[in-house]
Symmetry: C2
Subunit: 232 residues, 2 copies
């Protein structure tokens, strides 16, 4: 199948790219979307991975959306990045309004323009209830719309939707993913902070998968505080 | 209701803005979307109209999508603008892949960010079968997705969906719309060409509505050739 893979340079979407391409399942185009993330270090890794795999790679520059979709720590530099577990109330600050629909609609347009048949993204079993647009009913409705967006139906694929992040690490390990070419930290520094939601999630996923984590963290012990939520 | 109105400075969406605002139906924010249209004359009119009505106005700059969504005369300068009736096969060159889903998803994100309850766009009874994303089933699916995109459901409004373009001209006339501050021509010149699909449609809508058309056209007779399709 001809598949547009939405990739960010993060762990999940890099494994996804390998799943489709290295797994020899599909003909792939990689699409990264610059929606004005506070940092763009991830996007650099997206390009490195696509180039290494010899996959066509493009960036959709929609970063002016940063001004239109205010209030998220992912796009506003004046909203603090929350620390700790990813599924806490505080993580709501990381929600970009309607991000998934925007990303998918652009990817679907890209697929139509290139006569591709599907778009794939790295939704996974660990996607959290704080993100309304990760809900099954939402994606089902959007899938219906995608099938009708053009005369040729476009499929939305989510091969990892029943896979945990630890499971994704295992899949990536099996496909020879270089995890050092993936980036997760919301802080955006050269070295992963080890304290933000995605860093903690990343560390715990490697532990759970039993795969050695090659990542360097500024604080490699903070995650231990997150295993058992602190008593209030 | 609090409504984000998608406006382009074209005739339909300008009347739509007046419908919600001047008709005192809703609290309105106007959102124009610069998706790399070949010309941006329309967007200037969008701003003029919103400013005159004292409605908050913003432009979503997603014009880099021009490179990602190739092949349309609306975004590519090397694809010729077709002349004649809007519902002809040749008009397929004006299709921007997945445009409606992209525009709506951005507007929905904007609505969520501002705690607005709905987005409204100027779909009308004259929308043509050449645009797959004007199909009822498509919009229904997208409406379902919008209701689930955030914890607070976002409604998609299409008040003109059963109104012809002539009907929209009548509504606009009743609301005191200054039609000189609206722009339709696909060619993008200072004066409407009178020959492209939207110009012909505009001319015929005024005639059918029985409302005087204040617009100046470079060729104000060409439309007559379109009333009866030429025999082949």
């Amino acid at each position: 199948m001809k598949v547009v893979v939405i990739t960010s340079g993060g762990l999940d979407s890099t494994v996804l790219l390998h799943h489709h391409h290295t797994g020899k399942r599909d003909e792939v185009r990689a699409l990264a979307i610059d929606y004005g993330q506070r940092h763009r270090r991830e996007l650099g890794f997206a390009e490195i991975n696509a180039t290494k795999l010899n996959v066509p790679f493009e960036v959709a520059n929609v970063k002016s959306l940063r001004d239109l979709l205010p209030g998220s720590s992912q796009t506003s530099s004046n909203v603090a990045v929350p620390h700790g577990r990813y599924d806490e109330e505080s993580m709501k600050a990381t929600v970009v309004p309607n991000r998934n629909m925007i990303l998918l609609s652009i990817a679907i347009g890209h697929a139509i323009a290139h006569k591709f048949e599907a778009v794939s993204y790295a939704a996974h079993a660990g996607d959290h209830a704080i993100y309304p647009d990760c809900r099954e009913e939402f994606v089902n409705a959007l899938e219906q719309a995608a099938l009708l967006a053009d005369w040729i139906p476009i499929k939305i694929m989510r091969p990892f939707v029943h896979t945990t992040k630890a499971g994704i690490v295992k899949v990536g390990d099996g496909l020879g993913v270089n995890f050092l070419s993936t980036y997760s930290c919301y802080e955006g520094g050269a070295i992963h902070c080890g304290k933000c939601g995605t860093c903690v999630e990343r560390i715990m996923a490697f532990k759970e998968a039993g795969v050695p984590d090659p990542t360097k963290y500024l604080d490699s012990d903070y995650w231990k505080h997150c295993v058992e939520p602190a008593k209030s």
